[in-house]
């Protein structure tokens, strides 16, 4: 079995031999140290086998001894490979494929971020990319230990990070920062004003009130003190808490260009495909021109075979055509649009504030309509400020 395998690896030639000096030829072959096997006589002809490497020498001996020799069959690895040597494209392609495969091991194929349900996963990816950790990056130039420290310093909402390389995949394990509450319920604190205003009502739950009703206060003024002293002169620090409603003034300005260039989306559009290999984008289309300007939305699909990710991404670019239309708005229309914007602002930003009245001031300059609204509001201006121990 092993002998047969070895012979197959070396390559074998089945030959046919006839003529005068068969015996002389065999004797010379013996003396040269050439091995033959399966020699059989049939119809005055000798059939046998020889290794491919020794066949040339054997042929020379046979020729010298006036014996004719013919190759009947050749088999084995060298002959099998020889077939492919004539197909240069195939050989070149295989060689290139192997080289590419070996070289590609030095590049990042995929990046996985674990345990990060954070608000801004894209931001983390962007920071990593800025530090050179991106698909297609050359791994030997990356110092992961140093980079993880740099990223940790830059991204504020993570407390710990580890960059592990598993083959061509970089796994980023992240621990989110748990921000403790600013002031714990047990800590002593004061209550100060967060805005300028006039105090309308005060509900002090703990602490000593430092202002009176209808008193004007500025931002940062002490409203309720967390330091209490009794008749015996003992000083006690408490967690001051209060709801201080004050009349405040807020202003907000919204500007609107009366000459607007607007996108008017058309019904038509087109889809184009591209492929991204190791971060290099290859468009799968020839005609780059588009009949109209377009808004592009991309759908990306990463190549995933049996749970293994590869650095190949199929991209579909959905182009939605639009036309730029110049619209000129009248002052009335502008005012209406701004009024709507103010409505949205009040709904979203001032929802916890009671608006008593407002006053608009309108200015139009260089085609820009600007309205500044001054609100008179009632709101809770109390904010807690921690007392330091020395205080």
């Amino acid at each position: 079995m092993y002998v047969r395998m070895l012979r197959y690896c070396k390559g074998t030639v089945n030959f046919q031999m006839y003529g005068k000096g068969i015996e002389d030829c065999l004797n010379e072959t013996l003396s040269e140290g050439i091995k033959l096997w399966n020699l059989k006589q049939k119809n005055q002809k000798l059939y046998g086998c020889i290794t491919a490497r020794e066949y040339r020498a054997f042929w020379r001996i046979a020729h010298k001894n006036q014996t004719r020799i013919h190759m009947i069959r050749k088999a084995g690895v060298p002959f099998y490979l020889h077939r492919f040597f004539n197909r240069k494209g195939l050989v070149l392609g295989t060689a290139l494929g192997i080289i590419c495969l070996l070289l590609s091991q030095n590049f990042i194929w995929a990046i996985d971020i674990h345990d990060y349900e954070g608000k801004d996963r894209e931001y983390l990816s962007e920071v990593m990319e800025n530090h050179g950790i991106k698909i297609g990056a050359y791994i030997p130039t990356l110092d992961f230990r140093k980079l993880q420290q740099e990223i940790l310093m830059e991204v504020e909402d993570i407390s710990w990070m580890a960059l592990n390389r598993k083959g061509t995949v970089v796994e980023a394990e992240v621990s989110e920062k748990v921000v403790p509450p600013d002031i714990r319920e047990s800590h002593p604190c004061n209550v100060i004003a967060k805005r300028d205003g006039q105090v309308v009502s005060m509900d002090v739950y703990n602490g000593r009130e430092m202002v009176e009703l209808k008193q004007a206060v500025s931002k940062g003024d002490l409203l309720v003190s967390g330091i209490l002293d009794d008749e015996m002169g003992n000083v006690r620090q408490v967690h001051a808490d209060a709801k201080v409603i004050a009349q405040t003034v807020r202003t907000h300005t919204i500007r609107f260009h009366l000459n607007q260039s607007e996108r008017c989306f058309l019904d038509g559009g087109t889809s184009r495909r591209a492929i991204e290999i190791l971060g290099v984008r290859i468009p799968l289309y020839i005609d780059f021109s588009l009949p109209h300007p377009s808004d592009i939305k991309e759908e990306k699909e990463e190549l995933d075979i049996l749970g293994y990710r590869y650095p190949v991404t199929f991209i579909t670019e959905n182009h939605h055509y639009y036309e730029n239309l110049n619209t000129e708005y009248s002052r009335e229309e502008g005012r209406e649009i701004i009024a709507n914007a103010f409505h949205i602002y009040e709904e979203e930003e001032l929802k916890s504030i009671r608006i008593l009245s407002f006053k608009d001031q309108e200015i139009e300059k260089d085609g820009v309509l600007s309205i500044t609204r001054e609100y008179l509001c009632e709101e809770d201006i109390a904010v807690k400020m921690q007392l330091s121990i020395n205080e």
Binding site: I22, E23, L26, N27, T29, L30, S31, G33, I34, K35, L36, W37, N38, L39, K40, Q41, K42, L46, G48
Partner: protein
């Protein structure tokens, strides 16, 4: 009583250089020390060793292996003859 001494005979030149022949029934023969093939047909293989010629007779005789160390003959061996 005298003990018998075990006498080990050293290898002689005869033992090293003389051809050695191993027969597996009458179907296979391994011959070492073959110098030359004199006649090779389907029914007879005659070859030269150092000091004598050996001839195998039979039917369907073939050389399973032929190299400088040994020769393996297969087939139905009917007769072996030695020629001085």
């Amino acid at each position: 009583m005298r003990e018998k001494k075990l006498i080990v005979k050293p290898y002689t030149e005869f033992a090293i250089h003389s051809p050695r022949m191993i027969l597996y029934r009458n179907q296979e023969a391994v011959i070492e020390g073959c110098k030359k093939i004199l006649i090779y047909t389907d029914n007879m293989i005659r070859f030269q060793t150092k000091k004598q010629e050996i001839c195998f007779y039979g039917s369907g005789l073939s050389l399973k292996s032929l190299n400088s160390e040994n020769i393996i003959i297969t087939g139905m061996i009917d007769k072996i003859e030695y020629f001085a």
